[in-house]
Amino acid sequence: MVLILIIPLVTAFICYMLKSAKLVGYVSLAGAVALASVALPVIMSAISTPTEMMNGVLYMDALSGYIMALVIFLSLASAVYSIEYLEHEMKVGLTGARGVRRYYALFHLFIFTMLLVTTANNLALMWIAIEATTIVSALLIGLGFSKRSLAIEAAWKYIILCTVGITFALLGIFITYYATTAVMGGQGALNWTTIRSIAPKLNPSTMKLAFIFILVGYGTKAGLAPVHNWLPDAHSEAPSPISALLSGILLNTAFYGIMRFVTITDPSTGSVFTGNLLILFGLISMGISSVFILVQVNYKRLLAYSSIEHMGIISLGIGIGGPVGVYGALLHILNHALSKPLMFFVSGRIQAHYGSTKIENVGGVLSSMPLMGTLTFIGVLSLAGTPPFNIFISEFTVLQAAVLKGLWVVAGLFLLFAAFVFYGMLSGFGRMLFRGKETPKVEENEKGSNRDVASGFSVSMSSAFNKGIMILLASLIVVFGFTVPGFIDSTIRICIDILGVK
């Protein structure tokens, strides 16, 4: 387990030290592959038998294994995609060899911090790791290859909002620690496994207060409305492979923190309290994001608001609870982590081709970039929740849970917002895909004359990698629309047990 944490650190160090900008992308890919091959057996064994390490500071069970597998899969996909993305950015002159080295070093540090979140058993260590993800990813956003000042603005908002939010989460952890000292006497406990074993004895009103602080704190990081303001800026200004990581998995690691907390809050306060709060925040997120999706003119921001909507659905699923609701939420985490990165990858190439992130400046993607157009079409249908794609299944499961519990108002609002999102996503991307062909416009940046380079990616090994990973994601989206593979199904069922849902 420790080796999993060491590999990204070593890779980051090597990437920073390496002189050749051409080689560094492949070194980073090798690091990601090594990480995946080491992690796979560990995750497999953790799913069946929970393991502890270092006096219980690190801990892995099926839930952390599930999230960790997503982190590793997406970091691999993103490392593959990054190679050509950065080659292109360098050719256009938006970054130099130094920027590339920095990018890869931070990229692997970012992965390290997210892996630390999933393996931390100690609540304070988990907080430290989540705050570290903020710091590292703020630097990645601030790299801002396309427009420096916008990237700095986005990074500033991101780091300030998330740090303030997460400060409240730390207060929540202090309060939890206080609650455990009352039960255990003298020295309190911070380890999740210990707290869970004494959870029913904790003072309910103290735990309620702690949970509110945690929900506000980690909720800011997970992009739940109304504290989501950083998210559209950060996701639209970050380099595309980083947007994919932020949206696909960073939000989920923060939400993972909330899920761990729900399991130690529920036994003392009862699941109605946490459930209602999560449903409330979930519906607010869906509502606010659906309105912004309807009026959005920038396709990367459109995708960012779609992330808020999907985090709302996940929160809703956990909040509604019961095996069906939690199953839907966990499946939705996986499905969203497949579809959203694909869309960010594709939009990175569309941006490179048309030189703009405005929907009005992009037209006829399907005819000018047939492969990208097809992938965009699959991705957007999936994100909008259209059958027979993956997200439809998980959204339907969450809806089913609401109906089973007789929460008709929740189900009705869910359908209303989902309809808004459906229209907004399809009309936005539909215009980009099908509207008459337009000549690519090169972005109005200072480095003006790069029309010939910006008009397309070159054909090379990195380009084949790049297309391959997008096709892989798209085919997974299609496959998961028809069936949930057996091993994923059984893992989610174990996770439901861990979350203590009956």
């Binding site: 916008l150 700095i152 740090t163 303030v164 207060l171 309060i175 912004f292």
Partner: protein, 219 residues
């Protein structure tokens, strides 16, 4: 000595000092005194930890006191001063509201926190004032962050929030295990350094450290 500390309620005295240094931020027109107020605030926080360590005889509190003094009392203020010099923003803080109003609102915040925590669910080892003051300091820090225009003042507001947070943790449970506290401090140190870098970047690319200019991204 221990009786002496209790008889003169040294703990209350120091925590009152922490509150006063936090409130005083509202009155300053320049940035340098704000940094000084933060330094003083951190020194008092460290002193409070030391006094509590002396009273309870816990070794890890002594260590926490020293670490707080070194990081928040010396390192971060030095770093802040360097940034203030780099961006040459020694002058106006430029609040959105007048200093008098801002001071009044801070006062109201303190009263509200005291009233709200009057019959709390918490039983603290220390004087009850410490918890109330800590929550008040957190809110004052947040209030400063949302009413000031300069990027560097937002960082200082955030630092005050964190000092309040440490005080709260200290009031509730005499702090977390030392190793975790060190981790949290390290995170905060890194956060401040990176915020500092961004302050300089903002100054460079917007030719101003006013956050009013950061309004291109919306909707």
């Amino acid at each position: 000595m221990k009786n002496w500390i209790q008889a003169f309620s040294v703990i209350d005295f120091i925590s009152a000092g922490i509150l006063v240094t936090a409130v005083s931020i509202n009155t300053f027109k320049r940035i340098e005194p704000c940094v000084k107020a933060y330094t003083l605030n951190s020194w008092l926080l460290s002193a409070l930890t030391a006094v509590a360590a002396f009273m309870t005889g816990e070794v890890h509190l002594y260590a926490a006191s020293v670490v707080t003094f070194l990081s928040k009392g010396i390192l971060i203020p030095m770093f802040l001063r360097r940034i203030v010099r780099r961006i040459k923003a020694t002058h106006d803080v430029e609040p959105y509201i007048s200093n008098a109003l801002s001071l009044t609102i801070s006062g109201i915040l303190v009263v509200v926190v005291y009233a709200a925590l009057k019959e709390g669910i918490f039983v603290t080892g220390l004087s009850k004032n410490v918890l109330q003051i800590s929550i008040a300091v957190i809110f004052i820090g947040l209030f400063i962050m949302i009413t000031r225009r300069k990027a560097i003042i937002q960082v200082i507001g955030l630092l005050f929030m964190e000092n309040g947070l440490f005080l709260a943790g200290f009031a509730l449970t005499f702090g977390m295990p030392l190793i975790m506290e060190l981790g949290v401090l390290f995170d905060m140190l890194m956060g401040v350094i990176i915020l500092g870098i961004f302050v300089i970047q903002i100054k460079k690319s917007f030719a101003s450290s006013d956050l009013d200019k950061l309004t291109i991204l919306k909707g």
